[in-house]
Symmetry: D2
Subunit: 469 residues, 4 copies
């Protein structure tokens, strides 16, 4: 059956010989058993299992238009509002499984690939463009339930507005040669989240380029020769889920991707050496509305989780009667209701686009993508403020298994909870807001769709206000 | 025909002998011709005229369930989502006519009265309650298209949390006697907006009381004996609509209402001398969702107007290319899309309530009522910041009619406008953001539904978040 | 005696034949009696009188280094910390007289002229520069106690970053000719505050220019031939100081200044036609520290006034026990203490500069000039929030003189005040925060030293932080 | 020599048999060698060494009034402005050594003890008060250079405003018996920072109590029988100072302190069983101005460090030309200059208090203590925003020692730095803003002097604003 199980996902990843470096050492053995990847691969595998559970299979998958087999719903090209609704339901269901913490759960890249493939007509008849490669690869990915990492970001020697790379050796990944087999890439890309734990890596130029050697779009297997993933330090402390309930399970690694003379075979090249297309494709394709739609669904689930943790603290230490607490909780509710409303507007006003997709309205999704990066850090701060000094008084499960448990039971009990449950909740709140996992989540959400100024500019330019005269 | 025209409205107001004081003088002669009321009465009259224009009559009115005559749509008890939609359409249409500046356009009080009458069953069988009076009066108001002012706010010698009035003479209006004719009221109420320019005044206790003499709800004609309206200083500068385009047309007066031994006839008493009902009625009735729904429709129209003025400035002085300008415009768009989305959610999730009304969802409306008071002052500030020093360089129409026009034409021209049109726009922006009319609008929107802390508390307490454990 | 009295000031202004236009009419008769100028000229005249009162003369004036006569202290070149301290004392004393509302009280321009003249050495030996004219004119101004308006701002057809004026006819004032008598100026300048009610107008190019015809600095009498002042609409409502206690007394007019072929005599030209000097002079001169020092002294007095009004409201309606009120009052105190501390640091760290002046430290003054524009609008808002609905319930003195006074006395009394005193305080608060006078004050303070982004950039570039490596 | 060296400090700590629990295990062996304490004890030891370095001894110590021996400057009772200045210098010097990260460097508690002892006259003649014990103990501490932890915070079953502990067994530490030897304490206290690594623990009731068994003040050695310290999880990742430059050196542990029937000998009891004194002593003593003065000195050093890291990032990736970067840097400068100015004001206006101490002015110190908790989290966020995605791309020193160093050198180089130095700076920035050490620092600074609402209330109530009438 094409939609895979968790076990199939893990076996496929473990079988590949992907080159991954962690703290100066090349990872050998099964990736799924390496401490740095183990917890998150388990969590991802649980997502795949949900596809085939009888109770959820109906909306987690759909019959492949090609084979009739059940394939992942996030690969579907929606053409009706019902399709769009199923898509939302499916994505929310996956997001709930990680409380929205997996920013790169497979539905994100599946959606991206679907949207790009649906927009292949933009490449039709353009120089150095291979729309058929894109469409065929999308179909293959769908039938085999491939998983992806990707990366948009170039390393930069500086970020000055006037910077042009002038190194002889490539720094940002670029085409250094064309051969019979394909194009050859040398250089690096940054911040491939889940790098090393996916079947494939999809590489796209983000637009705004002026050097044809930076113009390309392709996908290759993670274990392609010359491809190398370098991990940052892991933000997993350990595998104890009482002590670190989130970071032990949802720490998506971020990697630097090195292309050491990597050959991309022609059938995997979607376009190359065409500056114009590179600069237009993402913006004109169905990418934006569908990617933003996936993200908003996930972020709503995440905020619901934050709200639940906040309310948990409020009830545990019985502070719901204070005006300042009510104001903080109201702020969370306002954020949540606002995002939900924006999603409803986007879906209510969805329309068939030029590619035949039932496309959600862009403006409310852009507003959400402008709002969330501001609101998320504030809500995280609210949880810290509600927890106050309790966020620091956090012994571990080991303490509760020792002879000082009697002390803890007496001195850390709460009105509603015994000490161990109370500390469990506060450890969760800490892992959500104050751990390195937490601060990386905040940083990640802040920049998900680029810097705030660009998002604001896009929003303003797309939204036509009629001026008063 | 029951739904009245502007002319009928004006004639009715002018015929009444309402006692109104302005700057130490009792107003004599026709109210509609007094400089303080004249512009706003004209604007209100234009609203009534819209009811009977063939092109809009269909949704501005509906057939009275009692008589079949066309009566005002805002009096309708909606029982379907279509009804709710018509209601929104009608209210937006009226709001557009004043750019949302008339906070007390008749649909507000019509809606309130409809919601209260629909909730009359709450009064059934309760002591000193007359649900029939309420229902009958609602029907009368609908058939005669009565207009209303109202007031919730008591004067207070202080606002300390521990304050109890202990004056021998009433300060806050209260019942001092019951007679054969009705109840007798003495004391004052504050902030009756449009006081003096409506047929009736509806008086309700806001709840939270503990003295039965403060417990009542009734409506009486504005010219009832002993009733007196005292105006604040007018914020209209004059009638020149080039110089003061908004304040010359939409300055709703606020009045102190003095009850000098006013007898309210029994048939106009809805309840009295029942603390429990007084403290429960508003909260349990259909008041909140429907009042908030009216307000949100108006506020959306108002923000659209603010957005248009902002964009007008941006285009006129050609500043749309600056990052900080784009960010400010994006902030306006975000506010606008957010409010629109909240309205869509409230209507999408509308349900039949216990009174048989198709009631919009409360939570998104509460969120809107919490958001708008914060966002409106910020958007007003944005317009000031966009206009910058241009907000101060504002000569008058008289200058353009004098020999210095040549100077103005040369020195105040803009890229897109001649000097006179440019100044017209900046004067509008000034009147919207910096005139006394403008600052009163801001203050008014800030407190429309009470202080922010109470709104936040209500929102939190109504919204059930499931706590994480 | 050189330091003049109020009477001398008024007589001098009234004697001049300055051309001023208000609402399409040329002002004839004595300026000091025109409703638009009358109140503010009285207030300014009171400042001059303070110079010669025996009790304050000692620090309000100092002996002229040239003549030994007592001349205004703000003209003094400070060379010791004691001088600097006297200067602060004198400026605070004047500021108190207008509660800091006169942004252009004479000490501001006196200080500017002193700082420019002290920096005349920068002009020494430079092309088209006349340092002696500047020094002589400073001495003349000091001995005659001249008063000034000035203007930095050019009219702009647009404010686009790419704008270059290409009109054939000048828009921004520029040199169109050099003659035997002097340079001839044509075009306009904006926002000359107090325009028309001063002896002189000082005109300086603000820097950042690239056209030599825009490069100049000079001063001429207000009634110079061809010079014309065009008023904006006045923000004075009337002369009743109960109803409008601030705007009736401190409404400084802003004017457009038209140069209709105005000849500036050579002895009044400080420099011209020298782009380099124009772009360097202000920045390298003693202008910044001394102008910022004057402004900060005034702004501290203004905040003290705002604090007093806020505390007045708090006590009158007895709300000091609420946590949110305490937080608002604390915000005011924080602003006030912060500004006072910045002033102390600037004076404590004052040093002799390259011109021999005892110059206050620049950084804390820049910080103050960056802080005040943000904090002032917030404090104004706090006063509005403390006053709440009381800011709208504001009858007039006329009401208190009529038969409805009994109603007002009963219904508007407060815990600490009778009704008339309570309303007096709230009318003051309204005039400070919600009148057109108030909103213009806010706009004025926001832009006093340019836009926030430029101020931030200057601050950053002057302040050398040692980077961590 | 009384002022000790680092070696003496370590030996004393290691010799004690203090009972400390970490992750369910009792620490055995030398505390200074335990991974959880090792780095911070080294850093603290370096502080002591500075006391005796010839170059700094003069102001780091002063001659004991009793013995003439050099003792720590922070124990000195300042009676002149010069004393106060030396005190500031000394505290800044120590703070620089840890970049202000050691919130409980010994000068904090030394200062507290000095201030309390200086205020001993408040205890004179009061019931159950032993002012002599306090004075003698202060002298002993000074002569022996004792180090301290302390704790104000009670465990609470809940934080509801209406909570009263009703457990039979004590939860919050309280007196359960008086014996010949002293008072016997049972129960717990929270958040003793540096618990276990100091000679003594000082225990004070924070005031606001109403049960005499909670009324006490005393100091006992850390290894007193029945005293137990329970650590939270450590935020030190490891001892590599390239990878974790701050957390490996400045991680002050926070501990729960358990009093398991601890006898406090009478000579160490300062007062007990006197509610009135307990609720008045801290507030009326010299505690506030001197504690706030120490804290502000440290916080200024800390902000200087944050500023340096921010500027380091700006220069390394060459982003100083962007307007938004300049605004962010300006925000840092504003915070820094503001705090420095508040300190100058407090010292400039210092006065002899009722205890004969030269006491810094309270208001600006309170303003600082209200400002810092708001500003510090914002500056930390600014560093995160400046670093952007660079805050996540952080390989380790181990990577630079492996064969992939070539990749890193090429792809992570910056305009100004080689890859290893660049990553070193970004790792520092991460450790300062995103590590668990960093988030604990932020939480700690937020609550240093209690919750913001209480601080605001205190500030308002101490600061007398003259109301306008």
């Amino acid at each position: 059956m094409p939609a895979i199980t968790g076990k199939e996902y893990i076996e496929r990843i473990d079988t590949m010989k992907t080159e991954i470096w962690y703290k100066g050492e090349k990872i050998t053995g099964k990736i799924s058993e390496h401490p740095v990847y183990q917890g998150t691969i388990q969590s991802q595998s649980a997502l795949y299992d949900m596809q085939l559970q009888p109770s959820t299979m109906e909306f987690m998958t759909y019959p492949s238009p090609k084979t009739g087999d059940r394939v992942g719903r996030s690969y579907q090209k929606p053409t009706t509002k019902t399709d769009l609704h199923h898509r939302s339901e499916m994505m929310k269901e996956w997001a709930k499984s990680s409380h929205g913490m997996l920013g790169r759960s497979p539905d994100y890249m599946n959606t991206v690939l679907m949207a790009l493939a649906a927009s292949a007509s933009l490449l039709e008849g353009e120089e150095n463009c291979f729309p058929k490669h894109l469409v065929q690869f999308y179909e293959q990915a769908q039938e085999q339930d491939l998983s992806f990492t990707h990366t948009f970001i170039n390393p930069q020697v500086n970020r000055s507005p006037f910077y042009l790379e002038d190194s002889n050796e490539p720094i940002a990944a670029r085409i250094i040669e064309e051969t019979m087999e394909g194009i050859v890439i040398k250089g690096a890309r940054l911040l491939a989240t889940q790098g090393g734990m996916t079947d494939e890596i999809l590489v796209l130029s983000p637009g705004g380029i002026n050097d044809p050697s930076h113009a390309f779009a392709f996908s290759i297997p993670s274990d392609t020769k010359g491809l190398r993933f370098i991990c940052r330090e892991s933000f997993t402390f350990g595998s104890n889920s009482y002590n670190h309930p989130l970071s032990s399970r949802f720490e998506e690694m971020d990697t630097i991707v090195v292309f050491d003379n990597v050959t991309v075979p022609w059938e995997r090249v979607f376009f190359y050496n065409n500056i114009q297309i590179t600069n237009r494709f993402l913006r004109e394709s169905a990418f934006r509305p569908f990617a933003l739609h996936q993200v908003l669904n996930r972020q709503i689930v995440k905020l619901e989780f934050v709200a639940g943790v906040a309310e948990g603290i409020v009830q545990t230490i019985d502070i719901g009667g204070y005006a300042h607490v009510q104001e903080k909780m109201a702020e969370i509710i306002i954020a949540l209701e606002t995002l939900k409303s924006l999603l409803i507007k986007a879906e209510t006003n969805a329309k068939i686009d030029k590619f035949g997709l039932m496309s959600p309205e862009l403006a409310p999704l852009q507003v959400a993508s402008s709002t969330f990066p501001k609101v998320y850090p504030k809500l995280i701060e609210i949880v810290q403020l509600l927890g106050a000094s309790g966020m620091v008084t956090i012994p571990t499960e080991e303490d509760f298994s020792s002879e000082i448990r009697t002390d803890l039971d007496q001195y850390l009990q709460s009105a509603k909870h015994n000490a161990k449950d109370r500390i469990k909740l506060f450890r969760l709140a800490w892992d959500l807001t104050m751990s390195p996992f937490a601060t990386r989540q905040t940083q990640y959400e802040r920049y998900f769709f680029g810097n705030p100024s660009t998002i604001a500019s896009d929003l303003y330019q797309n939204y036509k206000i009629k001026p008063t005269k």
